[in-house]
Amino acid sequence: MNPTGILGAAWLAYRRDLLLALRHWGQVAQPLIFFVMITTLFPLALDPELAELRRIAAGILWVAALLASLLGLELLFRSDHADGTLEQMLLCGQPLTILALAKGLAHWTVCGLPIVLLTPFVATGIGVPFEAVGTAMKSLALGTGILSALGAIGSALTLGLRRGSLLLGLLVLPLAMPALIFGARAIDLSIHGDSARGPLLLLAAMLVLALTLAPPAVAAALRISAE
């Protein structure tokens, strides 16, 4: 028997999730549409004047990305838990931490990355100047990454619970608030023409911390939920 190495197993898990997402991309598109819809709510509810929207654009982008990511977390472990595949993954003999990281990465590729790619269009729609769009994309790229990591913990803890999606929001949003503070600040600075290096670096540090600490927590949570 020639056992699969850790990296090989991680790559396999990543590819499988990507393939699954491709096969029902309609479901995958929902968080993305949600992102655009939430952003649309603000000009409708407030003042559609771009100069006014520009003042709160950083906040709008981040809140929309947060809520859309929450919706996207549904895709992460729930279906695996429901059809029994998660149990098999727990028993495959590979370190669960690495598999959790691989699945989280796949989830970001499918949920977070599209949000980042859509940001230029959405941001311009709410008055963000062209020069600030790059910062907006960086900020949301780091932010959605942090959210995937934190959300994975929440998702793993709430597997199989009725109305687990509501509970998931309650658990994940407080943990995401620090990222929100710095991420929105970065975009805001950039809109006003200042350098956003400080907050962006802090956001990057938070992402590194999340990527280090979240996978073991996710692995522990998955084992707890399987009991």
Binding site: G8, A13, D83, G84, C92, G93
Partner: protein, 196 residues
Amino acid sequence: MWRGERQVLAGVSLSVAAGECVHVLGANGSGKTTLLRVIAGLLTPEQGTVEWGGQATRKRRDEWFATIGYLAHSDALKPELTARENLAFDVGLRRRIHDQEIGAALGEVGLAHAQNQPAGFLSAGQRRRLAMARVTLAAAPFWILDEPYTNLDSAGAALVAGLLGRHLDAGGAALVAAHQPPTIPHHVPRRVELPS
């Protein structure tokens, strides 16, 4: 240990040797599935240990997982992936596997014609056979099978019994929970009854 409000598996103890098959029997709710999950390592008992080769399995969990092939109540198949893809991913997580091996295993369980169909389009019996193919491909010495005969017709049941027989002949061991198991060629399983 406790499952919700009920205490199950109090004072249960059993052992399985190489080349041996143990059948676990018991009424509904006596804890058959719980026992299998405890042995597989998914549940932790409040008291007692699971040992393999003289060592507690809790200590070297990943190694223990590589030693077992577990078949749960559910088939654990992704409906969007084809039969072939399901096997390739599931077994691939454990060991490197070639396309020919997958093809051979699919042929063995009578699914060669359906190998490129999404698992969601297969019948319940076909899915069970596919899950069984995954167990055979895992190349694990110890099989833990929870109701492997559900949804199978008599031909399917005989097929699974045959696979079990071959596994035992090769020196493997198995722990099976089943209601009415068919006979395994050349082997008489030891029966363990769980009190309700």
